[in-house]
């Protein structure tokens, strides 16, 4: 585990994270011990689950959003190709795709090491995640269901 100063920094960032969510009047589930907060957003189509966590060891704020579906075994290669194409198209964050079980998680991070992080940065992490996940989740689902081919997806992005 990290030292006392790192722990205090993590605690400060965690409180700041909760304050930002409070400022939106959003409902969320917090775990002070783990320094995580979870909340749900409704996008244009597929619901979006988010967990924000403060990684005291690495001094990172990390926001994760697991997609609510998996690529079936016969679509695993397609999943790898389309999540790779999406990652190449975005400026920040990435879709982490588990080719062994077809799960996809969007992850965005920022370092707070030796830095003063503003509420605006936390708002940006949330807004960016919501926008990226909302843009891609339905297209990934279409590929997973065979409605869109991976070639069509790659051409689009």
């Amino acid at each position: 585990m990290s030292n006392q100063a790192d722990f205090k920094s993590a605690e400060r960032i965690y409180n700041q994270l909760c304050a930002v969510l409070d400022s939106y009047d959003w409902k969320y589930v917090s775990n002070e011990q783990e320094k995580t907060v979870s909340f749900v957003m409704t996008g244009e189509d597929v619901p979006m689950n988010f967990t924000a966590c403060v990684d005291a060891e690495r001094q990172l704020i990390r926001l994760l959003s697991p997609l609510p579906f998996k690529f079936a075994e016969n679509k695993r290669l397609e999943g790898a190709v389309v999540t790779s194409a999406a990652n190449f198209a975005i400026a920040d964050g990435c879709f982490q795709y588990d080719v062994t079980d077809g799960e996809t998680i969007f992850v965005i991070t920022t370092s707070y090491r030796g830095s003063l992080i503003s509420d605006e940065t936390i708002r940006y992490l949330i807004a960016c995640s919501v926008a990226v996940v909302d843009e891609f989740n339905d297209k990934f689902l279409m590929v997973a269901k065979g409605v869109m081919s991976m070639e069509e997806f790659v051409e689009k992005y």
Partner: protein, 157 residues
């Protein structure tokens, strides 16, 4: 880009250069574009480093382009290798252009209304170097091999 964004970008770029100077790192720079080019010799392949300040998005981005392209016939399967490497990574991602076969590692930090310290830039640089040096030769080997999907999954681990 407004005046405030430009001033924040310039302040961030200044801290970045001061950090690299303090590390005695040799680099080329384009102060107008707010870009820094450097590199190092890894255990095997060279590691290219390009820092840029994205004033519009208020991001500091480090890119490290891998020194090879994936041959046309391996482009889809290579997405499996890149996905496998990215999955569970604490920060950053290998972005893979399925169309051209290029792979670039990217790690970012957001400085929106924030004050990023030297420690964050040092972290980005050392982290990128570590990750790229760890995986570049493996990815090159997979790109030039005839490994199947299952063999790739086992090779990356």
């Amino acid at each position: 880009m407004d005046d405030y964004q430009l001033k924040q970008a310039q302040a961030t770029y200044k801290t970045l250069r001061e950090t690299l100077d303090a590390m005695n790192l040799k680099y080329d720079h384009d102060d107008n574009a707010m870009e820094i080019i450097s590199g190092a010799v890894g255990d095997d392949l060279p590691v290219a480093i390009r820092f840029c300040v994205d004033a519009e998005r208020m991001l500091i981005i480090l890119h490290s382009m891998l020194p090879f392209d994936v041959p046309q016939q391996r482009r889809h399967l290579m997405a499996v290798a890149v996905s496998r490497v990215n999955y569970g990574m604490a920060d950053g991602s290998f972005d893979y252009d399925v169309s051209s076969g290029g792979i670039v590692f990217r790690v970012t930090s957001c400085y929106r209304d924030s004050l990023l310290g030297s420690e964050t830039f040092e972290y980005m640089l050392t982290y990128a170097f570590f990750v790229v040096d760890k995986y570049n030769d493996l990815l090159e080997k997979i790109a030039s091999s005839d490994m199947t999907l299952e063999e790739i999954i086992n090779a990356v681990g």
